[in-house]
């Protein structure tokens, strides 16, 4: 079997894992709580750069660097949330977009932070001498998917609980939720901080996998790609978002493979994004709930009611 193809496929798998984490974080913010965060890349960047700078300048172990990266992203998320979360959805989108660009501009211009446009090299988290490319991929799959599984379990527990119910209520009608005793500012801020922390985790994992980052890798396009993962997969359904992440990455990377096998009048990479855009528009029109749609909350208590109802209707 073609080794190059195997390595390339493993590469795709790592990318799916990393972006699944980021997409899940957006799902928490937008899918469950209705927060239109169009500045996701800012927190991805913050995590990536924090990790890179820590690994370049200090000798701390990688897992500590990842945790600090998450904390920094969460901190920035908190600062942003203070003024931004009370804004109307379109204003929130624009403000988060702008904040992302400001952050990127600062990192690009201030060479003292991370060498500006020249970028910064990042040592891989787990490494031994004589490691092959194949082994490198496998190790990363292990690391990334370990984090992904933890995140996924956490999100499922969170959104499938009364807390998740409150988030949905804030999404549906925040004034009504407030009138029923839910402090919407608190919930929105918590969600935004958590979402930012997880995006930062994704960023840190990305930095150590790519082993090199520069400001051009954190354009708004990253945010948009993650949005498409959530919309395609299914807002407010974590399984759906996993599927969305996989499909989008496969779509993106698949074109590169096809290039070697098919001759088309249009460059497949361009064609892929064109088709992508058209597909998203159609999905928004005909299936905005995504491929796997949101399911009703099912706690043990609700399951109990369901059973009772089924029995009484027999």
């Amino acid at each position: 079997m073609n080794l190059g193809l195997v390595v390339y496929s493993l590469d795709i798998i790592v990318f799916i894992g990393i972006f699944a984490i980021v997409a899940l974080s957006l799902n928490l913010e937008y899918g469950f709580t209705g927060l239109g965060n169009f500045g996701k890349v800012a927190f991805f960047l913050a995590g990536a750069y924090t990790y890179a700078i820590l690994m370049e300048r200090t000798g701390i172990p990688f897992y500590l660097a990842l945790i600090i990266a998450m904390l920094v992203s969460a901190g920035i998320g908190f600062l942003v949330s203070l003024p931004a979360l009370r804004l109307r959805e379109d204003y929130l989108a624009i403000v988060t977009l702008a904040i992302g660009e400001v952050l990127r501009l600062v990192v690009k211009t201030e060479d003292s932070i991370a060498h500006g446009v020249w970028g910064i090299t990042v040592p891989p988290a787990i490494h031994w001498s004589g490691m092959s490319v194949l082994e490198m991929r496998m190790v990363n799959i292990g690391l990334v998917y370990f984090c992904l599984i933890l995140c996924f379990i956490f999100f499922q527990l969170m959104t499938g609980s009364p807390y998740g119910r409150v988030l949905r209520a804030v999404r549906e009608d925040e004034v009504a939720a407030e009138a029923l005793g839910k402090n919407r500012v608190k919930y929105k801020a918590q969600v935004f901080m958590l979402g930012s922390a997880l995006a930062g985790l994704g960023g840190g994992l990305y930095a150590q996998y790519m082993q090199y980052i520069n400001p051009y890798m954190f354009l708004p396009m990253v945010t948009f790609t993650v949005w498409i993962m959530v919309i395609v997969g299914g807002p407010a359904n974590n399984w759906g978002v996993l599927l969305g992440a996989a499909l989008v990455i496969l779509f993106e990377r698949g074109a590169r493979i096809i290039k070697d096998y098919l001759i088309l009048p249009i460059d497949p990479i361009n064609l892929q994004y064109i088709l992508f855009g058209v597909l998203v528009i159609f999905l928004l029109a005909y299936r905005p709930q995504g491929l796997i749609k949101e399911r009703q909350l099912e706690t043990k208590a609700i399951e109990g009611v369901q059973k009772w109802k089924n029995r009484s209707s027999e």
């Binding site: 956490f154 527990l157 969170m158 609980s161 009364p162 807390y163 998740g164 119910r165 409150v166 949905r168 209520a169 549906e172 009608d173 004034v175 009504a176 939720a177 407030e178 009138a179 029923l180 005793g181 839910k182 402090n183 919407r184 918590q190 949101e294 009703q296 909350l297 706690t299 043990k300 208590a301 609700i302 109990g304 009611v305 369901q306 109802k309």
Partner: protein, 253 residues
């Protein structure tokens, strides 16, 4: 005089130069069904919005159990024991009827992030109890067969009932009902008020805006008539019904 449960003192609220509420004062007695009536645009809903914290008053104060509450956010007013039901139901339409009810519950341990994810035993037991209480209420309101349906599937009248049911689920001390019988047939309207009377006997206090005067006056203990932001007339229903000002307010002068 016994201290009133809710005291609205010289409250004023304007929007861009127009005073929707203009130095209105009233008291709601503990354990009473107090009515707020008046023609459209007289400021009744705005007054309610000030009481439950959606708007801050530009003038005056609001006291509940002797405590000032006019600067509090709605979720804090809820914590004090005042629950508001909207005139046009603000249900969580994509969530089930049961979810809507459970969201109204006071002191749900699962509302906190740490409790929800980590200390799961605590809220799971509580939720079963709350679900029972919710079903009991839904039964009373004859909505129980729709327990697991999305709230969006309910008819207009059923939505109104759920809005009220949700407010009752919140175990309030004072319930602010904004036109509970609006848009439903007169029989159902009367039934709603009979349920209100039932809950009053259980110790709840009610402050109600209503247009269906013929039903309201059968149940209310005290009536306030509002006109252009001010309280024009107040008294027992039969007294107010005989007051000429009352008719002038409604028919215009």
């Amino acid at each position: 005089m016994e201290e009133s449960l809710l005291r609205v003192k010289e409250v004023g609220k304007h929007f861009g130069g127009l005073w929707a509420v203009n130095r209105a004062s009233l008291d709601v007695a503990r354990g009473s069904i107090t009515a707020l009536v008046g023609p459209n645009g007289s400021g009744k809903t705005t007054l309610f919005n000030v009481v439950f914290g959606l708007h801050k008053p530009d003038e005056g104060c609001v006291y509940f159990n002797g405590e000032r509450i006019d600067h509090l956010a709605p979720h804090q007013v809820y914590a004090k024991g005042i629950v508001h039901a909207f005139q046009i139901p603000r249900l969580f339409y994509r969530l089930t009827v049961l979810d809507n009810m459970l969201l109204a519950a006071r002191g749900h341990k699962g509302d906190g992030l740490l409790n929800s994810v980590v200390f799961r035993q605590g809220w799971q037991a509580q939720e079963r109890e709350l679900a029972d209480k919710a079903l009991e209420l839904l039964n009373l309101l004859e909505l129980d067969r729709l327990t697991l349906s999305p709230a969006g599937e309910l008819s207009g009248g059923q939505r109104k009932l759920l809005e009220i049911g949700r407010a009752l689920m919140a175990a309030p001390v004072l319930l602010l009902l904004d036109e509970p019988a609006a848009g439903v047939n007169p029989n159902l309207g009367r039934k709603i008020f009979e349920k209100i009377e039932l809950f009053r006997q259980r110790g709840l206090s009610f402050f109600i805006i209503e247009h269906r005067l013929e039903i309201l006056f059968d149940f209310a203990d005290w009536v306030y008539v509002m006109d252009r932001g001010k309280i024009a007339v107040e008294g027992k229903p039969e007294e107010v019904a005989k007051d000429s000002t009352f008719y002038k307010v409604y028919l215009g002068d």
